[in-house]
């Protein structure tokens, strides 16, 4: 996968370290040129051996850093799982135990080490070239600017203090004769302004200071601008992707609706003819068109039963697609819960009597109203009750409990039936799924009853859950959110 082109903090720091290394090469060249100019052109007497020695140390150390930084960069490259190389690890562990930047501890430590060493080397170079007399003393500023870009504010203050302490130590050591002083000669005479060499050197220092400042300032500014552009591009990209996702999501929803509508149309078309077939067969079986030979009777009775199963399936498919298509909020109407429960009780009582199952309802005195789809809600409850009756052996009970909690209306239907095997429980709400215990007890069934229960519950913003113990019974609980205020008036 393509990673965004924006630089994470660690990569940014690594990039800055690369920049610092390039600057140091410029410094090495600058020092060499300045030394050559000082003794060849200006004839200033300097301990060139020591100064070149320090410069060589600077060059070698920068070479080591180049290697370390390369390894760090490789390690931080997206997709790389290579740890930083052994060299960099050793360097970092030995020289610096601190972890200043949590996002890029290794790179931050590396930056810290470099700046400290740079400060130290600058102090040594200054010591061999006049100490406090040397106008290049101002170059400490560059180290601190670099530090403030690369490091945390605290680390930068520490570095500034380190630089100040170093040059102070050198200056006072020279002052009190602890260290040898290497004078710059004409630089510190009272009438230095009359000496073109002094004027030239001072102006050269000022000039390099100005141009180096410009270089650093503009480099940093352009980096910032580049990052801003990257961020702008990325956010546009993100917005575009979010838009595409939205479109895709809408398409999926539309497809779902189309599928559901298609299912509903098909079921609807099937229902009429199936109903007529079943009724016609029933009329024949009832002997209204004459007596039937036994074998014809048996066959027609089978056909009538199967037509009935199909009629049931189309009825369930219709109810399911209706609940899944959802209905506009305006089509939701106040449903009197007492009436709903009573209607289901009356609808189911004959079946319960026939099955020898005791059906009872326990509900609060005044259940009030719920805004919803009355047909769907009635089917939800009657499906649960009818399941309870179907899967409970003679002599068992099915109990319907309805109660309010603070924000929910809870329907519970508990039976003392055959129960659901544990491994089947996660699937009972799947379309067409019937548990093994259910199929053993009642061979026929659409396997859509609980799908409808779930779809209707979700259509009303609610949920359904089930607990069951095989052989002991099952309890379904449906929670439907209530409006904030329960009122007798329809809410608009």
């Amino acid at each position: 996968m393509e990673r965004p082109s924006i630089l994470p903090a660690a990569a940014e720091l690594a990039e800055h370290i690369g920049w610092l290394i390039r600057l140091r090469w410029i410094a090495v060249i600058g020092v060499v040129c300045t030394l050559e100019a000082a003794h060849r052109v200006l004839g200033i007497l300097l301990p060139l051996g020591s100064l070149y020695g320090v410069t060589a140390v600077l060059a070698v150390y920068n070479l080591v850093l180049t290697v370390v930084a390369k390894q760090l960069q490789r390690a931080q490259r997206p997709g790389s799982d290579r740890p930083p190389g052994a060299v960099s690890h050793a360097v970092l562990r030995v020289l610096w135990g601190m972890q200043l930047d949590r996002e890029a501890p290794e790179a931050a430590a590396l930056a810290n080490i470099q700046i400290s060493i740079d400060l130290f080397l600058l102090a040594v170079l200054l010591h061999f070239s006049g100490g406090i007399e040397n106008p290049f003393i101002i170059f400490f500023i560059f180290h601190i600017i670099i530090a403030s870009i690369l490091l945390s504010p605290r680390a930068t203050y520490v570095q500034a203090t380190l630089g100040f302490v170093l040059i102070s130590a050198v200056s006072f050591a020279e002052c009190f004769g602890v260290l040898e002083h290497y004078p710059l000669g004409a630089m510190w005479t009272p009438d230095g302004y009359r000496n073109p060499i002094v004027v030239g050197v001072e102006l050269f220092v000022l000039g390099t200071t100005l141009y180096l400042s410009v270089y650093m300032g503009t480099t940093i500014a352009s980096q910032l601008r580049r990052r801003e552009r990257q961020i702008a591009l990325l956010s546009r990209d993100l917005a575009e992707k979010a838009g595409n996702l939205e479109v895709a999501y809408r398409k999926v929803r539309q497809t779902e609706r189309t599928k559901s509508q298609y299912m509903r149309k098909v079921a609807h078309e099937l229902r009429g003819p199936l109903g007529t077939i079943k009724t016609a067969l029933r009329v024949v079986l009832d002997g209204l068109v004459g007596e039937l030979p036994e074998r014809s009777r048996d066959l027609i009775s089978r056909a009538e039963r199967r037509a009935g199963e199909l009629a049931e399936l189309t009825r369930d498919l219709l109810a399911l697609s209706r609940a899944r298509e959802g209905r506009a909020a305006t089509e939701m109407v106040p449903v009197k819960l007492d009436e709903l429960v009573r209607a289901v009780y009356e609808e189911m009582s004959p079946a319960a009597d026939q099955a020898g199952v005791e059906l009872s309802v326990k509900s609060a005195a005044d259940l009030g109203e719920l805004r919803g789809d009355p047909a769907g809600l009635q089917q939800l409850l009657s499906n649960l009750v009818s399941n309870g009756i179907r899967y409970t052996p003679r002599g068992g009970t099915v109990e319907v409990r309805v109660r309010h909690t603070a924000h929910y209306l809870r329907f519970e239907v508990e039976d003392t039936g055959v129960g659901i095997p544990g491994e089947d429980i996660p699937r009972v709400f799947d379309d067409f799924f019937r548990s093994t215990s259910a199929r053993e007890r009642v061979p026929e069934g659409t396997g859509l009853g609980l799908s409808i229960v779930k779809a209707v519950a979700q259509q009303h913003g609610g949920s359904v859950s089930v607990e069951s113990e095989l052989g002991r019974g099952t309890r379904f609980a449906v929670d439907l959110p209530l409006p904030i205020t329960v009122s007798a008036e329809p809410q608009t």
Partner: protein, 141 residues
Amino acid sequence: MSSGKVLTVDDDRDLVETLRIVLESRGYEVAAAHDSETGLQKVRSERPDLILLDVMMPSATEGFHFVWKLRNLEGEYFRAVPVIMLTAIHQRTELRFYPDSGDGTYKAGEYLPVQDFVDKPVDPKNLVMRVEKVLSASRRT
């Protein structure tokens, strides 16, 4: 001997013929119509004692329009003639929430002015039971 005249209005001709057998076996005289226009004409010409009406023929609202047109006809007979709707059980509750308010729109919270419902698929015994019940109730008044 006729125990009454029943008009069946349903676009499913096969169902109408099946129901004719059921009703005639119980001594009812049966008239049939397959759309609401013909149905209303037959109500005027045949003056049935009871109407069996399909809800959905063929559009979802035609049965409702039939009832409202019937009840708005001039004359006490048209307001009183009992109607049994043939429907599927889960639509029963829905019916009461979609009555015509007279201008072709539907409003919530009122009952459709019909006497009873019979679920589809129609069970012949249940149908006969309902028809007898509704007819005897209407004769008492």
